[in-house]
Symmetry: C2
Subunit: 416 residues, 2 copies
């Protein structure tokens, strides 16, 4: 179901007719040439939806992906990295209810067998497909084998259930949820006549929560695998890679971008970069807002760094600091904890020229307290922290959340 | 007051007469030649004790120190590092109720003025002392200037209150507490006739909680500043530096070791190393047991590493992982989170040969789940995690705690 109110708000908000339009509530089936489905295959004990399929009808099949940097990689990550070396995908099968990580050679065989089953069913359905054209993504508890009988029955069923239109995409977005409380979808309609859509679950990538981040992006623009790869790496580096909920990095994080070329419209790299970035940025914001136990949305921006990498490194050190995050939960303008976190980051700083503001109000100037610093009101949901290192011209940011009782509650009772 | 029961238990426990005896409840005044005091100077709004003095009566005054690695260093750290370049100290003045960190040039003048006041009062009291012989330590909220009128009045009073015997040391141990719930003291009596005593507060060093760690150690052995420095660096590196409560590092962490030489007994480096290590190890265990919000005492041991540094690095990555720590709080044997934390550490590992045990029971063998892994009972207070990387012969460990509701509660309402 489209979230029509949100869509109308955005349209009525009055973007110029020649600007790209962002629409929440539409997802991977917004671009032409994609079908999707989601259903309950019985992998989750709760009986909720747990299997999703995204299918590229073509006429083109270019694809790109980025994966977790964790050295411990789940079986589906190993499988999908391997098949993506061809730069080509026809389908992505995703399950929640089990990560298929740390499951040994048997787990890898399960991922392979799942891809084979998708390929065989699609072929029987009339679309000749090989297993090497099928990416596999999983999310859930680490360490258990998947119930393959249920997965394989689900695969047969889901291929037949694939609908066109938006509802299939929304079903898929629901089926990949674990601790997410809402599905996450967004689409971008470009005035040139091509589109990008995406769905995601979880809260992170590379630096983020163990609540695996899975994202599938689709476009009907005509674009090569190389173009997709460039656009995806640029966008992921500035969005998902800068979303840091608790510093933990999943064994399963995966972001895929598939192109059907169905619009028939070739796309400039710059236009594609901007569109993919916009979709990823919106999905990252949706993940931040729905992170485990979140009560505050916090953006840490570091200015005055020598390089952008330095700025992001310092911002990440602040974003990961448990004492900063608990202070945010308490709406406490405890800026000294921000300085302490900056000071232990691997970037060389000069404490005597650091300035900090909370929600636009100075709390620290040149290394010591600004007047009224203890009275800054942080009771709202959004907190902007700006740290000026005073060393150079580079800027970087990281999105994070507070560390709340709900986070502890949710994560102390996950597997049991 | 001496904790006589504890002392008697240990003595009756029957250490051989020629082995060093460890006695809890005795502290910095256990060695000959040291006096100490603690009192309420009015720095803390609560009216609790907040000022402590440790005084070396000589005849020798050798000293060594290790300090926070945070680039943002509190004024008293800057002062004490400077005076310790002489390798000589007559006194240490410590306050709780304010960190005197991020307080600018005025804050440094406050630390200097405090040392001057201690020196002047000691000189008037009959012991000629210079400010460069006085170290200063502070702990409390970052960012506010100290109430210097109260500090200076307190300094005059505390010099006159210095008593001999154990009670002065215990008063001092009380006066440096912030979020500590119990004072932390220990003494070692060496059969050769010399002694080491120590007191500490907080929960960490270099890698540890922002709840500043302050430790003062004393000995009446005859030892040079160089000997003290060697013993202190060796001990701190294996004890306080391996205590990691939340990965945050205070601006104020300080560990000092003072020798009076009052026993008249010269000491071998190896004996001194062992004694200082034993005292530091006991204080570190006391800090772990009293860490903010602790409900579990967790030791992460990494074996089979190529180097000891690698082992400690991996152990620290696991010890800092919020998802591992919340699982421990929930008594949940979620070993997959341990593997994910190992996999994102900067040490290169081979996931397929990693094995993990919880409290001696195998939960993961060669990268995947051992039978019964989900049923391991972690309901007790102590949890031993052993991670075998299978790469080499080196071992390292880190002490940590769980991440509990109480931690969030305590740290979300500290400055306000």
């Amino acid at each position: 179901m489209t979230d029509n109110k949100d869509e109308l708000d955005r349209i009525e908000g009055g973007a110029p007719l020649d600007a790209p339009r962002i629409v929440r509530g539409q997802g991977v089936t917004a671009p032409l040439g994609f079908r999707a489905a989601g259903l309950a295959a019985g992998i989750k004990k709760s009986g909720k939806q747990d299997l999703a399929l995204v299918f590229n009808e073509g006429p083109e099949y270019a694809a790109a992906g980025v994966f977790t940097r964790n050295q411990v990689k789940a079986a589906p990550v190993l499988w999908s990295k391997q098949v993506l070396t061809t730069g080509r995908l026809r389908a992505v099968i995703l399950n929640s209810g089990g990560a298929n990580a740390c499951t040994g050679p048997g787990g890898f065989q399960d991922a392979h067998q799942t891809a084979e089953a998708v390929a065989e069913t699609l072929s029987n359905w009339g679309t000749e497909t090989g297993a090497v054209e099928v990416a596999v993504c999983s999310t859930g508890l680490i360490g258990d084998r998947l119930p393959m009988d249920k997965v394989l029955n689900g695969v047969t069923e889901i291929v037949h259930e694939m609908g066109g239109g938006l509802s299939g995409g929304t079903d898929a977005a629901h089926a990949i949820m674990t601790t997410d409380t809402v599905p996450k979808q967004v689409a971008l309609h470009h005035p040139q006549g091509w589109n990008v859509g995406g769905m995601g679950k979880g809260a992170g990538m590379m630096a983020p929560s163990l609540a695996t981040m899975l994202v599938v992006l689709t476009t009907d623009a005509v674009a090569s695998a190389g173009q997709l790869d460039t656009a995806l790496r640029n966008a992921a580096g500035k969005t998902f890679d800068r979303l840091d909920i608790d510093g933990s990095t999943s064994t399963n994080d995966t972001v895929l971008l598939l192109s059907s070329g169905a619009s028939g419209i070739p796309v400039d790299q710059a236009d594609l970069d901007a569109a993919v970035y916009a979709v990823c940025d919106d999905l990252a914001a949706q993940m931040q807002a729905d992170a485990e136990g979140v009560t505050k949305r916090v953006v840490i921006t570091v200015t005055g760094a020598v390089t952008e990498d330095d700025a992001v490194t310092v911002a990440r050190a602040v974003a990961r600091d448990s004492l900063v995050k608990t202070a945010m939960f308490g709406s406490d303008p405890n800026w000294g904890r921000v300085l302490a976190a900056v000071g232990i980051s691997p970037v060389t700083v000069n404490p005597d020229i650091i300035s900090v503001s909370f929600n636009g109000q100075a709390v620290c100037r040149n290394g010591y307290g600004a007047e009224g610093a203890r009275d800054v009101d942080l009771s709202g949901t959004d907190i902007d922290v700006i740290v000026d290192l005073g060393l150079g011209d580079a800027t970087g940011w990281v999105r994070t959340t507070d560390l709340s009782h709900a986070y502890v509650e949710e994560n102390s009772a996950y597997s049991s």
